[in-house]
C-alpha cells in the first residue's frame, strides 16, 4: 500500500503523506489559498478550522476548509481567486 496520496492542486500533481490535510498539499504549490474581499492573498492562520482563511474549492465544492479536509487520491483542489 502506498504511503502517499497524489492529488491535483491548481492543476499541478502533488504527493503528500496519507492522512495529510488539503492545506498541507496546497502549501506545496502556493501560499495563496483565497483572495480576500479587499483583494489580498490569504493563507491558513489558525490551522484548526476556526478562522476560515484556508477556504479552497475541492472537487467543485467551494469554500471548503483545507485544514479540516484530509486528502484523497485524485482530489482536485483549486485556490479561490
Amino acid at each position: 500500500m502506498s504511503s502517499t496520496v497524489r492529488l491535483s492542486v491548481n492543476g499541478q500533481a502533488v504527493d503528500v503523506p496519507v492522512g495529510a490535510s488539503v492545506a498541507a498539499a496546497m502549501a506545496q504549490v502556493s501560499l495563496h489559498f483565497r483572495r480576500s474581499v479587499g483583494g489580498t492573498s490569504r493563507a491558513p492562520l489558525c490551522g484548526m478550522g476556526v478562522c476560515f482563511e484556508c477556504r479552497v474549492r475541492i472537487d467543485g465544492v467551494a469554500h471548503v476548509r483545507a485544514c479540516m479536509t484530509p486528502v484523497r487520491e485524485g482530489m482536485q483542489v483549486q485556490s479561490h481567486d
Binding site: L31, S36, T40, P44, C46, G47
Partner: protein
C-alpha cells in the same frame, strides 16, 4: 434520521476522550463527536509523520464501546439533540446527557502585516505541521506567550524547520518566577525540561514581541520589539499565538451560563461540572484554561457524572482542584503586556473575513452596532477571530453567537439527511 445516545460527548481531545471512556465503562451508549477527522483534539493532534505520545495512543485505543463520529460539526442545538453536519450529510443526534469538551482555540492578536500568508498562530503552525505542511528547511520565528510556544517549537524542529528564535512577551523576571513555581509541579517541570532539551541551541527571548510583519505577497521579514530595541529577522513563517481562549459557542447556544474571568468567556460549572442546564456537563478548557491534566481529570469526572456514578466523580475532585491551580499559575505569569493591545494601527485589518480596519471601528462601542455598519464579524469565522481580538484589545465584547454555530449548507438547516449532489448552488457560490 435521529440517533439516540445515553451520553453524547462533543470534542475528542483529552477531556472528551476521558469522558467517553468513563461513560462507556458504565455500559452507556456513548457517542463521541468531533469536527476533525481523527480523535486527539489539538494537544494530541495526529501527526502524519511522527508517532503520537503514549498517553494519546492509549486514550484513543481505550475507546471500547464508544461510537466515534468523525468530521461531525455541531451546527445547532435542538431539544435534547444536536444538529450535526458531516461531509456526507446532516444528522440529528439526541442525547440523555451531554458533555461539552469543546476545548480552546488560540488567542490571535492583530498587528500590521498579520494577514500576510506565512503568518499563523503558534499552535496554528504546529497543527498545520502535523497535517503535513512543508516546514523542513524553512526559517521560522515563534512568538507570543506561554508554554505552547515551546511545544510548537519542538514540533517544528522535529519536522526540520530552522527555528530563528522563540520570542516570549512575558518578562525575564516573570518567566523565571514561573520556572521556580514549577518546582512544586514535578511532572510539569520534567515536561518543561524535556522541551528545553529538544530545543537546545534555539534562542529563547523574553520581554519580546512581534510588532510588524512585512512582505509583498507573503511574509519576508518580521520586526521584533525587545528590551534592547527593535530587531528585524528574515523568515519564511511566523508562528504567533498569545495563549488560549475557551470555545463556548455551543454552551452558549444551549443556554449554559458563561463567566468572564477576564476579557473572554468560559462555561460556568459547579464542583461536579454541571452547567446550569439539566443533563449538560462541561469539562476541560471550555471551563477555563487549565491544561492537559485538568482536561483528562474533568473529562473522567463528567463521564462518571453523566452516568450517575457520583461516588467515582467525587473521588477525583481533590486531584482536579489541585490540577486547576496550574492554570491559575499560567494566567498570572503569562499575563499580556499592555503594549500588545496597541500594535494594530488604523489601517490594520481586524476582521479578516470582511476586511474591516481598526480605524473603521473607532466610532463603535458595541459589537452589534459595528457589525451593522461595517460588517465586522459577519464573515465565515462568525467573529471568532476579530470578536475575540476586539475583546482582548478592550474595544467591546464579542456579540452573542446565533445558529448556525458554523457556516452550514442549507440542506443541513432544512434537516435533510443527505445533500443533493450538486450542492454548490445551495451555497450560492456556483461560479
Amino acid at each position: 434520521m435521529t440517533e439516540l445516545y445515553d451520553v453524547l460527548v462533543v470534542g475528542a481531545g483529552p477531556a472528551g476522550l476521558a469522558a467517553a471512556q468513563a461513560a462507556a465503562g458504565q455500559g452507556a451508549r456513548v457517542g463521541l463527536i468531533d469536527a476533525q477527522a481523527r480523535p486527539g483534539g489539538q494537544v494530541w493532534r495526529h501527526d502524519v509523520r511522527r508517532a503520537a505520545p503514549r498517553a494519546a495512543r492509549e486514550a484513543i485505543a481505550h475507546l471500547h464501546g464508544v461510537e466515534w463520529l468523525a468530521q461531525h460539526s455541531v451546527i445547532a442545538a435542538e431539544a435534547s439533540a444536536l444538529r450535526v453536519e458531516t461531509p456526507q450529510g446532516s444528522n440529528l443526534l439526541a442525547y440523555g446527557s451531554l458533555i461539552l469538551a469543546t476545548g480552546a482555540r488560540e488567542l490571535l492578536l492583530p498587528f500590521p502585516g498579520w494577514t500576510l500568508p506565512g503568518v499563523t498562530g503558534a499552535g496554528g503552525l504546529q497543527a498545520l505541521t502535523k497535517q503535513g505542511w512543508p516546514v523542513a528547511g524553512k526559517r521560522v520565528v515563534i512568538a507570543g506567550s506561554g508554554p505552547l510556544l515551546l511545544a510548537a517549537a519542538a514540533t517544528l524542529r522535529a519536522h526540520g524547520a530552522r527555528l530563528q528564535g522563540i520570542y516570549e512577551q512575558a518578562s525575564t523576571a516573570t518567566v523565571h518566577a514561573f520556572a521556580r513555581q514549577l518546582l512544586h509541579w514535578p511532572a510539569r517541570a520534567v515536561q518543561a525540561l524535556g522541551l528545553r532539551a529538544r530545543l537546545f541551541g534555539v534562542p529563547y527571548h523574553f520581554g519580546s514581541f512581534v510588532r510588524h510583519a512585512h512582505g509583498d505577497t507573503a511574509l519576508q521579514v518580521v520586526e521584533i520589539e525587545t528590551p534592547n530595541g527593535t530587531q528585524t529577522i528574515d523568515c519564511d513563517l511566523l508562528a504567533a499565538g498569545y495563549g488560549l481562549v475557551p470555545n463556548v459557542e455551543l454552551a452558549s447556544a444551549l443556554g449554559c451560563s458563561l463567566t468572564y474571568p477576564g476579557a473572554h468567556p468560559q462555561v460556568q460549572v459547579d464542583a461536579f461540572l454541571r452547567t446550569g442546564v439539566a443533563n449538560v456537563y462541561a469539562a476541560g478548557e471550555a471551563c477555563g484554561i487549565g491544561g492537559l491534566a485538568v482536561a483528562r481529570l474533568e473529562g473522567t469526572i463528567a463521564g462518571h457524572m453523566a452516568t450517575g456514578n457520583t461516588e467515582a466523580a467525587t473521588a477525583l475532585l481533590p486531584q482536579r482542584n489541585q490540577a486547576r491551580r496550574f492554570g491559575d499559575l499560567l494566567t498570572k505569569h503569562f499575563a499580556l503586556d499592555p503594549r500588545l493591545r496597541k500594535l494594530a494601527d488604523q489601517q490594520t485589518l481586524i476582521c479578516r473575513c470582511e476586511d474591516v480596519t481598526l480605524g473603521e471601528l473607532d466610532a463603535f462601542s458595541d459589537a452589534r452596532a459595528a457589525k451593522l455598519a461595517t460588517r465586522c464579524g459577519m464573515g465565515a469565522c462568525q467573529g471568532r477571530i476579530c470578536g475575540t481580538a476586539l475583546a482582548e484589545l478592550g474595544r467591546f465584547p464579542r456579540s452573542g453567537s446565533r445558529p448556525p454555530l458554523f457556516p452550514a449548507r442549507l440542506a443541513t438547516l432544512a434537516g435533510a439527511a443527505t445533500f443533493p449532489s450538486s450542492d454548490d448552488e445551495y451555497r450560492g457560490s456556483r461560479s
